[in-house]
């Protein structure tokens, strides 16, 4: 069996043996994957920051003026919706830690409960992001006049943003927005999928057969990382 004769080396952390650094193989590989993923996200956010600082003042759209919508409210409040999204993700991170903590105590019922809340939080975040994208893509009613004339003599007015034009200003802003939040959103989505798979394993009693809930811990690491990235996206994209 896989879990017999696991005597960790007490001689030193470099000795190898069952668990170097006292971290199991799977958990360490998850950490190393997350470090590499952190560099991917950092390169995206830092290149965004460079282009943003490079742009002349006024030419770059102010993110808090672009993303100022809130559901069921006609007026504009800047940052409110993104703050809500941040809160949702921090909250789902908390429920994930609670699930990991329950796993340490072999409290299966609590693990299931907190994992379900985490999955709900993940879907709530994805829904919010879809809403945010919808508003960015469809733009304002007024739009922005381009000064170009159409065949019928009327002026060509741009509404919203996509990869080819951006009502709010610099084209790069739209491209970075779609790429960075899209890349993060795909991470959230795969995190939700992994959570659902692990929840299924918990429900089937796989963890008790293995003797530990380490799988919950590993998927938790991934989930916290997704939250961590959002903390940086929130700062670099919406605050700065």
């Amino acid at each position: 069996m896989a879990h017999t004769a696991s005597v960790p080396s007490e001689k030193g952390v470099w000795g190898g043996g069952v668990a170097p650094f006292n971290v199991s193989y799977g958990k360490m590989m998850m950490w190393f994957f997350l470090i590499s993923d952190a560099f991917t996200f950092s390169s995206l956010l830092i290149s965004y920051g460079v282009m943003r600082n490079k742009a002349e003042n006024g030419y770059w759209p102010a993110p808090d003026e672009v993303f100022n919508h809130f559901p069921f409210y006609d007026g504009h409040i800047k940052l409110a919706f993104v703050s809500l999204m941040t809160f949702i993700l921090i909250m789902s991170s908390v429920t994930m830690v609670l699930a990991v903590e329950a796993g340490h105590r072999f409290d299966k019922k609590a693990v299931v409960k907190w994992m379900i809340w985490t999955i709900i939080g993940g879907f709530a975040f994805l829904g919010s992001q879809a809403w945010e994208w919808y508003h960015f893509i469809s733009g304002t009613d007024a739009g922005r006049a381009t000064g170009l004339l159409l065949a019928d003599g009327s002026e060509y007015i741009v509404h919203g943003a996509n990869m080819h034009y951006n009502e709010y200003g610099a084209q790069l802003f739209a491209n970075f927005f779609f790429f960075i939040t899209g890349f993060h959103g795909s991470h959230v989505f795969s995190g939700v999928v992994l959570n659902i798979i692990v929840l299924g394993m918990v429900l089937r009693g796989v963890m008790e057969k293995r003797g530990h809930y380490e799988m919950v811990e590993k998927v938790g690491l991934y989930w916290h990382f997704v939250d961590l990235v959002w903390v940086f996206v929130f700062t670099f994209f919406y605050l700065i």
């Binding site: 879990h3 696991s6 960790p8 952390v13 668990a19 650094f21 006292n22 971290v23 199991s24 360490m28 950490w31 470090i35 952190a38 560099f39 950092s42 390169s43 830092i46 920051g49 460079v50 282009m51 943003r52 600082n53 490079k54 742009a55 800047k78 940052l79 703050s83 941040t86 809160f87 921090i90 909250m91 991170s93 908390v94 994930m96 830690v97 609670l98 903590e101 329950a102 340490h104 105590r105 072999f106 409290d107 609590a110 963890m207 008790e208 003797g211 530990h212 380490e214 938790g220 690491l221 916290h224 990382f225 939250d227 961590l228 903390v231 940086f232 929130f234 700062t235 605050l239 700065i240």
Partner: protein, 157 residues
């Protein structure tokens, strides 16, 4: 059963029918309130700094960026060391993870300094490229040797 006997936080092997301990979640909620408070400070500051319509600012635009970046790194510390339990790992493992990511602090500094340098540097002005590549030679007003050379090359074709 031998099982994984790791340090105080890590797994102990499950014994069927064992009693379930009471949850210890106080530290989780403490970290949650810290994260929420820091986020509130960030958002609140973003509002306050813009109240005067950009004229009366509490902090300059650059200072504000450093302020937000610092607070974000504080949040990152709490997420990684508390929620991801890096604080409970062996010292050498903490080093393995955190030393690698110190490069990012250097990258953030580059982003700020190089980004502004690119903005203020005359060489990257669009009219510079227009002058060199569209007109085929460097004309009046250029004040760098690189541009001159490019212009000379162009005119040979």
């Amino acid at each position: 059963m031998a099982g994984f006997q790791m340090d105080h936080y890590h797994m102990h092997t499950y014994v069927p029918g064992q009693e379930i301990e009471k949850p210890k979640t106080k530290w989780i909620w403490k970290v949650f309130w810290i994260l929420l408070a820091v986020t509130t400070v960030e958002v609140g500051f973003a509002f306050l700094n813009d109240l005067g319509g950009g004229e009366k600012r509490l902090m300059s635009a650059v200072g504000e960026k450093w302020f937000f970046i610092t607070l974000t790194l504080v949040k990152a510390y709490y997420i990684v060391f508390s929620f991801m339990h890096l604080g409970d790992e062996k010292f050498n493992f903490k080093l393995t993870v955190s030393l690698t990511t110190t490069f990012l602090i250097y990258f953030i500094a580059l982003m700020m300094f190089e980004g502004y340098a690119l903005r203020d540097n005359q060489l990257v002005r669009p009219d510079f490229f227009k002058r060199v590549y569209h007109e085929g030679h460097a004309t009046e007003g250029h004040h760098d040797d690189g541009g001159g050379k490019h212009g000379a090359e162009e005119s040979h074709h």
